[in-house]
Symmetry: C2
Subunit: 604 residues, 2 copies
C-alpha cells in the first residue's frame, strides 16, 4: 500500500510513496512546516467557530440546525473532510499527538453523524430532508467525494480505516449513478475502487461521466448548462467551460476513469481540453476562471487581470489534473504547468503567516477601489473551500516532486529533498526558486545502470547539466543521464534565471500594451508598498531602456529575491519622471503588507 | 397641468409640455413610431405570456401563484406599470383605440388586485405574506414607485386618474419612511407630491434619503452594503457604488428631494458623484456598470469592453438623472451626456425591428465564445426590467429635446420636430445624427426679443451658426442668438461631423492600445458581417496611415452612414495583410444581423 494522492492502475510514470520523498530544508520545507504547525491548527479553530463541527453534532431536525452558524450552506461537511485528509498526510510524515487527537475527535463526530443506513450529509439530515433530491445544488455527492478522499488518505497514509468504513457505507447508500452539480465524486469513486478492489465504484464513476453533458440537471436557467458541464458529453466537449473548479474536478475524474478502463478516447478528450485551456484560458500565474458571476472560464483570451477570479481551488484542481495527466502520459509539459501553477496560482492563496487566505487571486488591485471592495486576505470564508484545500495540497506536496518508471527516476519539481526508494538514495539540494542550481548527490544506487531525468523548465533559456560525464547544455524539456551510478556521484543542473520581461499573447485584450516581470518559475508583481514616494502604481510604466536587476528582499522573507524594475511616470506629477524604479516581489507574496495597489501587468 | 416626465417646482430650465414638441420625420420619429406600433404591442404579448398579467389575477394564495409562470420574481408588477406609463405618453401623442383598450383592461386588473386596505403587490399577496417584511430584496416600494410613475403619467398626459387613485391608496398604506433595497420610490413620491399637492409625500421621500446609508438593510453580506447604497449617507458618499441602476435611481430621487426642499448640499452631493462617475466609471457609449456579478459600478477606470454590464436600464436611469440635473442647474454638459447615452447606451438595447432586446450592452463580443454564452438579442427576459423601461423612455423622448426659461428657448437634442408653445412656433429640420446641419425656421414669434440657445456638442470640433445676423463660428457649449425674431427667420447650425478616431483615457487598463471610431454623436463598432473575407475581427488593427471615410449603409437602414476603417492584419493569415478595410456601423445598430464578433475598441 503506497502513500500517494492518486494511485492509477496503469501509468507511464509511477508516483513515489510519500514516505520515500522527504523535504529537508528550504522554500518548500518551510511552507510545509507552516502548513502543519499553523495552518492546520488554525483550520480546526475555524471549522469549530464557523459551525462545521457543530453541524456534525446536529442530526435531529431543522430547528436546532437553524440556530447553528454553519448550518446554512450545503457543502460545509466537505471542508471538514479536506482538513482530515491533510492531517492524514501529515501524520504519515511524522507523528503529532495534538493533531492526531483533534482528528480522532472529529472522526468520532463523523461516525456518530452517519445514519444507520449509511447516509451522511449534515445539511440534509439536519433539515430532515430526503437524500439526493437536489442533485443540482445540494452538493451531496461532492461532500461524499471529500469524505472518500479523506478516507483513502487515512487508509493509505496510516493504515487507519475508521474513515474508510464510514465512506464505504456512505458510498453504498448511493442508489445508482447520479450527476452532482459539483463534480468530484467521479475521481473519489475511482480511488475508492482502487483502495477497496471493488470494481463497481469505478463503473459507477464511469457511468456518472457518461450521464453528464445531456442537459438533464435542473436549474440550468440560472447560469446555463455549461456552469456544471452539462452542455456537452464529457468525451465530446472541445473546450473547458463554466465553473472552473467543477470542470477541472470533472476532468480529474475523467482521467481516472479513462486510465482504469483503458478509455483512450476519453483521455484524449481531456488532453484536448487541457491544451485549449492552456492556450486560451490560463493566466500567466496558472490561475483559471475569468468571471466572478459564475466563477467560470470566460471566452478564449478573456483574461482580465483586475477581475480575474482565479480561485485558489481552481489552481489546486489544475495541479491535481496536471499530475494525473503527467502520470498517464509521461509528458513533462504537465510538470511545467504544475510548477507555474503551484508557485503562482496556489501559493498566493495563503499568507506567509499561513493563517490568512485569498479565495480569488486577481493580477491587479487598484489603489483606488470601490468602497467596501475586497482586497484583503481573510482568516476564513463563509464558503471556505479554499483554505482546507490548500492544507491538503501542501500536506501532500512532496508527492508531486518526482516519479519513477522502468528506466529510472524523473525529477519534476525542485526542492531540497531526500529520495530513498529501495536501493536508491538521492540527496537533492537547491536554493530554488531563488537560485537555479540543483545538486543531486547519489548516496546509494543499485549496480545496474539507470536513467536520471531532470526537467528543464520552459521558462529557462539557458541550462547546463554537469555530471560524472562532464557538462552539457540542456534545452527545455527533459535532460537525461543513463549510467551505472555510484555512491558519491554528483549531478548538477544549472538553470539560469535572470529576471526577464514577458510579453502577453496579443490576443489577450485585457493586458494589451503591458509586460510582466518573471524570474525563474516566479511571476512578479509591483505593490504599492514598493512604489516611489508620492506615486501610485497606476502611474508607472516600464522603461525598456534600462535593465532589470535581481535584489535580495529579506524585508519580506529571509531568502527572497526581488526584482528592481526601471519605470517612468505615465503622466505628470510631483515626483521626478526620469530614473525611477520600483521593487517587484513574487506575486505569491503579495498582500502580506499594508493594503494597497498591485499590478502583475505593467504598461509599457 | 403639463405633460412632462418630471415637473420640478424650482428649476433653472423648464421642460416643455410633451404636446408642444412633435417629432415629425427622421431618425427619432421613426424610432418612436416603431416603439408605438411594434414594441408596446409586443410588450403586451410578453407581459401576458410571461405571467405578469396573470399575477394580477392571483391574489388568493401561494398554491395558485406557484403554478403561474410569472409568479417567481418579486418585481414583475413593475414591468406592467412601466408598460402602462409608456401607453400614457403615447395616448397623449395621439389616440389609439387598440392601445387604449389594452391599457383599460390592465388598469382594471390592477384595480381589482388592490387589497381593500390599499396594499398592492402581487408577489406578497399571492403568497399570503405580510407587507414590508423583506425590504432588502422584496422590491415592494420599487414596484409601488413604478405604479406611481405610471399614475403620474396618466394624470398628466390624459387627465385620467384611475391609476392615481390606486397609487395614492397604495402609497398611503406605507406606514412610514422605509428603505427599499431597490431605490426608485424616492423620485416617485416626490412626483406624487407634486401631482397631488400633498407635501407629506415629499417629506417621506426626504426621510427615505436620510435613512439610507447607515448599513441597516439586512442581507448585505451577499454583495456588500454598497450594492444598495447603504454604505454611506446619500449626502456624503463621494462616488457612485454598487448596483448601477439602484444608484442612479436613488440619485434621481435625491435631486428631486433637493430641488423641492432647496437642499443645495444634497444636490451638490449628487453632482459630485455624477462628475466622478463621468470621469472614472462611464463607458464611451454612456453605459454604466462594469460588473456582471452584482450589476455594479467597478473601481475607477475599470471599464472592460467584453464584460461591460452596461445595463440598458442604467443608461435610461442616467438620462433620467442627467435631465433632472440639466433642469436644476442649466448646465448643458448634462445635455451632452443625454445625447451620448441615448444614442449609444439606450438605443443599443433595442433591435431595429423594435421587438428584440439587450439587457447588457458590452462593447465587445468575441468571434469565439463560451458555449451557450449570451450574445443575441432576446424577445424578453425573465427579469424584464429593460424592455418596458425602453418603451416609456422612447414614448417620452420628445420631452427631452428642448427647454425654456425667462430668456428664451434652449434646443438640447436635434431631431426634426415642431415646437409650438404659445406665440412661438419653430420648425426644426435636420438629418441628424447622419448629418450635422440643423435648420430652425421661425413660423411665428412674439414681438419681444428673446434668446434661442442651441447646444454645440462636445464632440464637435468645428461648428458655425448662420442666422439673420450672418455666420459665426461656434465652440462647444451653447451658441445663442438674442433678437426680435420674425416669421420667416431661419437659423442654421452646422456641426461638422467627419468620422474621427477617439483615444481612450490612459488610465483605462482594459482598452489600452486601442482606438474607437466615432462620427457625430455616434460611437461606431466593427461587426463580423463587415470583416474582410476569411478574417476574424480579432485579427484587425487600425492602420493610422490611411483615412477614415464616411459611406452610406442602406443595407442596414435607409439613411444610415457607416465608416470605412483602414485596417491591417495583426497576425499572418490567408488574406492579404495590406490595404484592408472594414466597415464600421453605429454601435446602436449592432446585433441586427448574423451573430458574430463585434468590437468598439480596435487595437492600433
Amino acid at each position: 500500500m503506497s502513500v500517494v494522492v492518486v494511485q492509477p492502475s496503469r501509468t507511464r510514470f509511477h508516483p513515489f510513496d510519500a514516505r520515500q520523498v522527504s523535504l529537508v530544508t528550504g522554500f518548500w520545507a518551510d511552507r510545509i512546516r507552516t502548513n502543519r504547525e499553523r495552518t492546520i491548527p488554525h483550520g480546526l479553530d475555524q471549522l469549530r467557530s464557523a459551525g462545521n463541527l457543530e453541524n456534525l453534532r446536529i442530526t435531529d431536525g431543522y430547528r436546532a440546525a437553524a440556530d447553528s452558524v454553519g448550518a446554512v450552506l450545503p457543502f460545509l461537511d466537505s471542508d471538514v473532510y479536506k482538513w482530515l485528509e491533510a492531517i492524514g498526510w501529515e501524520l504519515a510524515r511524522a507523528p503529532d499527538p495534538g493533531l492526531a487527537a483533534a482528528a480522532d475527535d472529529v472522526i468520532a463526530l463523523v461516525a456518530a453523524a452517519q445514519r444507520p443506513d449509511g447516509y451522511l450529509n449534515t445539511y440534509v439530515q439536519a433539515r430532515g430532508g430526503e437524500p439526493y433530491r437536489d442533485m443540482s445544488w445540494g452538493h451531496e455527492l461532492y461532500c461524499l467525494a471529500h469524505l472518500i478522499q479523506a478516507a483513502v488518505a487515512w487508509h493509505r497514509a496510516l493504515d487507519d480505516d475508521r474513515l474508510l468504513t464510514i465512506a464505504v457505507r456512505a458510498a453504498d447508500h448511493v442508489p445508482a449513478a447520479l450527476i452532482d452539480g459539483h463534480p468530484g465524486i467521479e475521481m473519489a469513486l475511482v480511488e475508492l475502487g482502487r483502495v477497496t478492489g471493488e470494481r463497481r465504484y469505478v463503473t459507477m464513476a464511469a457511468e456518472m461521466i457518461e450521464l453528464r453533458g445531456h442537459g438533464t440537471l435542473a436549474g440550468a436557467e440560472r447560469f446555463g448548462a455549461t456552469y456544471w458541464q452539462d452542455h456537452d458529453p464529457v468525451r465530446d466537449a472541445a473546450s473547458v467551460a463554466g465553473h472552473a473548479v467543477r470542470q477541472l474536478y470533472l476532468d480529474c475524474g475523467a482521467v481516472d476513469v479513462a486510465v482504469e478502463l483503458g478509455d483512450d478516447r476519453l483521455l484524449a478528450a481531456v488532453r484536448r481540453r487541457w491544451d485549449d485551456m492552456m492556450r486560451t484560458r490560463t493566466y500567466l500565474t496558472g490561475g483559471m476562471g475569468s468571471r466572478h458571476r459564475d466563477e467560470a472560464f470566460g471566452d478564449p483570451y478573456e483574461l482580465p487581470p483586475d477581475r480575474a477570479y482565479a480561485e485558489t481551488c481552481a489552481a489546486i484542481a489544475s495541479v491535481m489534473l496536471a499530475w494525473r495527466l503527467l502520470l498517464a502520459t509521461g509528458d513533462v509539459g504537465y510538470a511545467d504547468t504544475i510548477e507555474r501553477t503551484m508557485f503562482n496560482g496556489v501559493l498566493p492563496g495563503i499568507s506567509l503567516s499561513g493563517t490568512r487566505f485569498f479565495y480569488t487571486n486577481p493580477l491587479q488591485r487598484r489603489t483606488h477601489r470601490v468602497p467596501g471592495g475586497a482586497g484583503e486576505r481573510r482568516p476564513w470564508y463563509a464558503c471556505a473551500c479554499c483554505p482546507p484545500n490548500l492544507m491538503r495540497m501542501l500536506s501532500s506536496w512532496q508527492q508531486y516532486l518526482a516519479t519513477h518508471d522502468d528506466s529510472g527516476i524523473q525529477l519534476h519539481q525542485y526542492a531540497s529533498a531526500d529520495i530513498v526508494s529501495g536501493p536508491v538514495h538521492l540527496q537533492i539540494r537547491t536554493g530554488y526558486p531563488w537560485d537555479g542550481r540543483v545538486t543531486v548527490r547519489f548516496l546509494q544506487s543499485p549496480p545496474e545502470p539507470w536513467t536520471l531525468s531532470m526537467r528543464v523548465p520552459r521558462w529557462c533559456r539557458s541550462a547546463t547539466l554537469t555530471g560524472p560525464d562532464g557538462t552539457l547544455a540542456a534545452g527545455a524539456g527533459i535532460v537525461k543521464r543513463h549510467r551505472r551510478w555510484q555512491a558519491g556521484d554528483v549531478v548538477e543542473l544549472n538553470l539560469e534565471m535572470p529576471a526577464r520581461i514577458t510579453e502577453p499573447d496579443p490576443r489577450i485584450d485585457a493586458v494589451r500594451g503591458c509586460v510582466a516581470v518573471e524570474r525563474g518559475p516566479l511571476v512578479y508583481c509591483v505593490e504599492a508598498a514598493d512604489a516611489p514616494e508620492h506615486t501610485e502604481i497606476e502611474e508607472l510604466g516600464w522603461d525598456p531602456g534600462r535593465e532589470l536587476a535581481s535584489v535580495p528582499r529579506p524585508d519580506i522573507d529571509e531568502s527572497m529575491v526581488g526584482v528592481t524594475v526601471p519605470v517612468f511616470r505615465r503622466w505628470p506629477g510631483e515626483t521626478p519622471a526620469e530614473g525611477l524604479a520600483v521593487g517587484a516581489i513574487p506575486y505569491f507574496a503579495w498582500a502580506n503588507r499594508a493594503v494597497g495597489g498591485m499590478r502583475v501587468w505593467i504598461p509599457r
